[in-house]
């Protein structure tokens, strides 16, 4: 924090007011549009835009559950994003611990390879991955295609490189004396990891979890090909409000708000961790 002994000059205060007002408008307008449109009858939504809705209705909030099986999609998204996040965090912690605390042969190759995967366009993964999933299904009986499992596996891997990288940064910032001490006390390296390092790395871990969750929650392409109507997730399912006859804009907005609310709330609650996690991790 900067702390000036004197109050900031007026030029600064005014700049701040103006710029922040504009930015707020930019950031919030779409959210306002979502809210106001979700409360309008369909004729009003598809007609000329009005800032203040002329007729208010909560009907869209009741209809959204019938037009598409929103609750099921929501549950699917929750399961998929939640499991992908959980698994990804555990795997990333292990890997980051290794990279941060050990110098071993192949360490560099590992990091370089993992990071370079981030540069490959996702579209190209789609068919090969699909093929691999089907083959695994045929040989082992574990159905990855069409199941939530396949999607979970895919998403956790998508987020893994960035998660590992962020965690390595965070773990590096935790003094090694801590786990050294635990080791001296007779803990095994894993025990030291769980007893000492993980608790100290909570902000970093939460940051990684938020990132993984958001990525999994929003992905469209893989979800549209790899799910069926039982396992379909929200990002694909919401497209169901655009039917052959009509785009139910008010319901799209209402459903969007309903499904976004928990995510946004969670994100805002946890954002301090994200800041803390990034402070030590990304920001070095």
């Amino acid at each position: 924090m900067r702390s000036s002994p004197t109050a900031p000059p007026r030029s600064f205060v005014w700049t701040r007011r103006i710029v922040l007002t504009l930015l707020t408008a930019f950031a919030v307008t779409p959210v306002y549009v979502m809210l106001s449109s979700s409360l309008k009858p369909l004729e009003d939504v598809t007609g000329a835009f009005q800032w203040i809705p002329s007729g208010l209705t909560v009907r869209p909030y009741l209809d959204i559950w019938d037009t598409v099986p929103l609750a099921r999609y929501f549950l699917n998204s929750l399961i998929v994003a939640g499991a992908a996040t959980g698994c990804s965090v555990v795997v990333a912690v292990f890997a980051a611990y290794a990279v941060s605390r050990y110098r071993f042969r192949g360490r560099r190759i590992f990091t370089v390879t993992v990071l370079s995967t981030q540069m490959f366009p996702g579209i190209l993964f789609l068919l090969p991955l699909f093929l691999i999933f089907v083959n695994i299904g045929n040989t082992t009986g574990i159905a990855l295609y069409g199941s939530r499992g396949g999607l979970i596996l895919t998403y956790m891997t998508f987020t893994l490189p960035f998660s590992i990288w962020m965690l390595v940064g965070y773990l590096d910032s935790i003094p090694r004396d801590l786990d050294e001490a635990a080791l001296v006390d007779g803990c095994g390296p894993l025990k030291a990891l769980f007893r000492v390092v993980v608790p100290a790395a909570v902000p970093g871990i939460v940051a990684v979890a938020i990132y993984s969750f958001m990525t999994a929650w929003g992905e469209v392409l893989f979800a549209s090909v790899m799910t069926n109507d039982v396992t379909r997730t929200l990002s694909v399912g919401l497209q169901g409000y655009a039917t052959r006859t009509e785009v139910y804009w008010n319901q799209v907005m209402a459903a969007s708000l309903v499904v976004s609310l928990p995510v946004v709330a969670g994100f805002l609650l946890l954002q301090r961790y994200l800041v803390a996690g990034l402070t030590a991790g990304a920001v070095k």
């Binding site: 600064f12 930015l23 950031a27 605390r101 090969p128 919401l238 907005m253 803390a276």
Partner: protein, 335 residues
């Protein structure tokens, strides 16, 4: 993902290692030779390695193989039977005088312009907001929450709302620009034609600048308060402080942040796909959609793969070059 880790052991080139780290490391080295030789690190990496292998590397290898095959709809059922195309797919893709290569090149250039603009603006907004909100004031917490909302909203929800706002006849954007402010003689098309590019940049910036804001906010918290106090005593005003202390101290963050944003934006598929559907307007024909079209819509997976491989090579070169340049620059600066 990136970069500093590419080879940077903990404290990046030129980065300041946290106090006490060096000592700890020395201690560790002496105390842990036994384990270092052990298999533990490999076992810890194993889950990550397996996943990367299964989901990323093997498909990536398959993708590279695909790029050397003539993989059209006649062969997709049995890839083994698809004839080898040698470098044909690549030749077609990079023959910029021929239509396919020309279209790819155009799409590539559009993507570059889009990425530079979107990343640049996102960074600019992020850094501005972060600096202006460095000192506490009433309502700062609320503002921060509002600013982060676009990033927290699920992609589909956010972008579909924008497409609703950008409609020509009934959208909010034209309502404001045309009906209320009267800035345009005719309502503007935002989703087709040349303006589609502008729309894409705006929507993309709207979604990514909160991330820049977040990271820079975090970085600003690392600047020791004494530095500001000292300069204040020296009589430096707030603008001078920003110029002399805040901005320079952001340099290491910027290096990472810009690279991350660059890679995410360049490869982004979700935003243009949701905004424009399967076929983007010419002006906003982003490379990821272009490749999607070239492989899925026209069923030529060999060509699509070749384009993807080229893209991968390009991004590798850019990233490597960028890292080399920035770390050299920083070494020079800190020397």
């Amino acid at each position: 993902m990136t970069a500093t880790t590419l080879d940077t052991p903990p404290a990046g080139p030129g980065g300041k290692p946290p106090a006490g780290r060096g000592a700890a490391r020395g201690h560790r080295r002496r105390g842990r030779g036994r384990i270092r030789r052990g298999a533990l690190p490999y076992l810890l990496l194993l889950p990550a390695l397996l996943l990367e292998l299964l989901i990323h590397l093997v498909p990536m290898a398959v993708g590279v193989v695909m790029s050397f095959k003539e993989l059209t709809q006649h062969y997709i059922r049995d890839w083994g039977a698809a004839p080898w195309a040698g470098l044909d797919n690549f030749e077609v893709a990079v023959d910029f005088d021929a239509p396919v290569g020309e279209a790819l090149l155009r799409s590539f250039l559009i993507t570059c312009a889009f990425t530079v603009l979107a990343v640049g603006l996102s960074w600019l907004l992020g850094v501005t907001a972060a600096i202006l909100m460095q000192d506490p004031f009433r309502g700062r917490g609320l503002l921060r929450a509002l600013f982060l909302t676009p990033y927290a909203l699920p992609v589909y929800t956010a972008v579909i709302t924008w497409s609703f706002m950008l409609q020509r006849d009934n959208g909010l954007v034209n309502h404001v620009l045309h009906d209320q402010l009267g800035l345009t003689g005719q309502p503007t098309f935002w989703l087709i034609g040349d303006n589609a590019f502008v729309s894409l940049v705006v929507v993309s910036v709207w979604r990514t600048w909160p991330f820049a804001f977040l990271v820079i906010t975090a970085a600003l918290q690392n600047i020791p308060r004494e530095v500001y106090e000292a300069s204040a005593i020296d009589g430096a005003g707030i603008w001078q402080q920003i110029r002399r202390i805040t901005l320079p101290s952001l340099r290491p963050v910027n290096q990472v942040l810009v690279l991350v944003l660059f890679l995410w934006t360049f490869n982004d598929f979700n935003v243009p796909y949701i905004l424009f559907g399967k076929s983007a307007p010419e002006s906003a024909d982003i490379i990821s959609l272009h490749i999607y079209q070239s492989s899925f819509v026209t069923w030529n997976f060999g060509a699509g793969s070749a384009m993807s491989v080229l893209l991968l090579l390009f991004l590798l070169v850019v990233t490597a070059g960028y890292l080399l340049l920035t770390s050299r620059g920083r070494k020079a600066a800190s020397a």
